[in-house]
């Protein structure tokens, strides 16, 4: 039962991330929404799986999977956003500040 609650929460977060990736205007903001929501959502689903299987071989396997998922998604987001900036995509027209431009010179 408790696993179902976790999974439901996770899917709600995933849904939010999905709406974000469709609605937001430029690449940077899409990455913002998507990474956070989807990572937390999937971690939550995996936690639900841990509670479902209990302390067994499957449960510990999922416990191992959570840090891998966490690091993979955050580092992936970081590398992607840096790559996007170097690729030459401009910040959206709503943006107000850009300190990184100076640092690259």
């Amino acid at each position: 039962m408790i696993s179902l609650i976790f999974i439901t929460i996770g899917i709600l977060f995933n849904l939010l991330g999905c709406i974000g990736i469709i609605r937001l205007p430029d690449t940077y903001n899409r990455l913002q929404a998507a990474t956070k929501c989807v990572t937390l959502g999937c971690c939550s689903i995996l936690l639900g799986v841990v509670f479902h299987f209990g302390f067994s071989d499957a449960g510990t396997k999922v416990l191992v999977a959570i840090p891998i998922l966490f690091f993979a998604s955050t580092v992936g987001a970081h590398a992607l956003i840096r790559g996007t900036y170097h690729f030459g995509i401009k910040l959206g027209n709503k943006s107000v500040k850009d300190d990184y431009k100076d640092a690259l010179k």
Binding site: G10, N14, I22, A34, T35, G41, L46, L69, A72, F87
Partner: protein
Amino acid sequence: MSNYLNILLYIQIGISVVCMYRIIRGPTIPDRMVGADIFGILVVGICAIISIQTERSFILDIGIAWIILSFIGTLTLAKYLTGKKLNE
């Protein structure tokens, strides 16, 4: 219980299909890559739910392998985006 899980599974699959929209539509290359990255993470969720549904734990193995390969793919594409060589 299993009915409810089924509904959740369909919602999750629907979310990843919507992600496909960004991969196909995305106006620039980085947009498509963001879509692919997010899609890779969502698949792990699908694997987890299926493993509960069928009570077979080896599907989790597939999920972990998927996230690892997706991570390597994302890093490689990000490396390509920065446009630098291996040793820069």
